[in-house]
């Protein structure tokens, strides 16, 4: 008899994931209700506890998922992307620029420091075919869906 590694059946939804998606929904509601206010808190404001929280959009088409994150002014090598257990993790850092001698600062609204986002993916993807690009300050991650997650047309034969 061979031992096979136990795999979570497809229909089993992690309870944690449900909590996360519920939280996301509440966040969305908050976002809708307070819109700009919430935005300005996130973007301009406190880098205190949560650090920086870049905006992430998720798109889906038939064959793939597309995750876009607004990360203005980073270096490509300061962005880390990983896939773990159905979550796409984006993290990185914008380093504080050196303050030059004899320079006065009038406004400092841009964020500095570390960020980390985990995005729960709605379906399984082909991990080794993920592609990421970074242009115009936007990180775009293209994740091709795994075969079993793609919609299938089943032909009906009539006899």
């Amino acid at each position: 008899m061979t031992l096979t590694r136990w795999q979570r059946p497809n229909f089993w939804v992690s309870p944690l994931r449900r909590v996360t998606s519920l939280r996301d929904e509440v966040d969305n509601l908050f976002h809708l209700a307070f819109g700009r206010l919430a935005d300005s808190n996130v973007e301009n404001g406190s880098q205190s506890l949560e650090g920086w929280f870049p905006a992430v959009d998720v798109f889906e088409d038939k064959d793939s998922l597309l995750v876009k994150a607004e990360l203005p002014g980073l270096k490509k090598e300061d962005i880390e992307i990983s896939l773990h257990d159905g979550y796409l993790n984006l993290s990185g850092e914008r380093k504080q620029e050196e303050k030059h001698e004899g320079t006065d600062v009038y406004r400092s609204e841009r964020w500095v420091g570390r960020f980390h986002r985990s995005i729960s993916l709605p379906c399984s993807v082909e991990a080794d075919k993920i592609k990421a690009t970074y242009n115009e300050g936007v990180l775009t991650v293209a994740l091709p869906k795994a075969e079993e997650a793609k919609p299938k047309q089943i032909p009906i034969s009539v006899k």
């Binding site: 992430v56 889906e60 002014g73 406004r107 841009r110 709605p122 300050g137």
Partner: protein, 126 residues
């Protein structure tokens, strides 16, 4: 006093129709060095050809239009998919003819040089 880009946001100014599209203010950093003011504005999603920088008298307007979005179905949105726009009033000491701009990875950097006469100068005594 040493007022830089003294005031901002003059929404009362009559704007051309095109600028009535919704917009957000980009986050900016402004620093002053001996020779110039340097303004950095975060405009992720804006390429060089989506930028519009206008100077009228001493009012500087920076605007950026985002690249078109993917046509795929949207599952989750956090970004605010509107244009960027922000207005600054420039200090008279800025030499407006020599303003230079560049955009890199969604960050617009404007260098606003000061006129020769206001730059600190060391005069050596013979």
């Amino acid at each position: 006093m040493n007022s830089v880009l003294q005031k901002e946001e003059k929404p009362v100014r009559p704007q051309p129709v095109d600028q009535e599209r919704p917009f957000v203010s980009p986050n900016v950093n402004i620093v002053e060095t001996a020779a110039a003011y340097v303004l950095e504005a975060e405009m992720p999603g804006v390429a060089k050809d989506g930028l519009e920088i206008n100077l009228e008298d001493n009012v500087l307007t920076i605007a950026g239009r985002r690249q078109p979005e993917p046509t795929a179905k949207l599952l989750h949105r956090e970004s605010n998919p509107v244009d960027y726009r922000r207005v600054f009033e420039l200090d008279p000491s800025i030499e407006t003819g020599k303003i230079s701009a560049q955009i890199e990875q969604g960050v617009l950097t404007l260098t606003l040089p000061k006129a020769e006469k206001v730059q600190p100068r060391r005069i050596t005594v013979n």
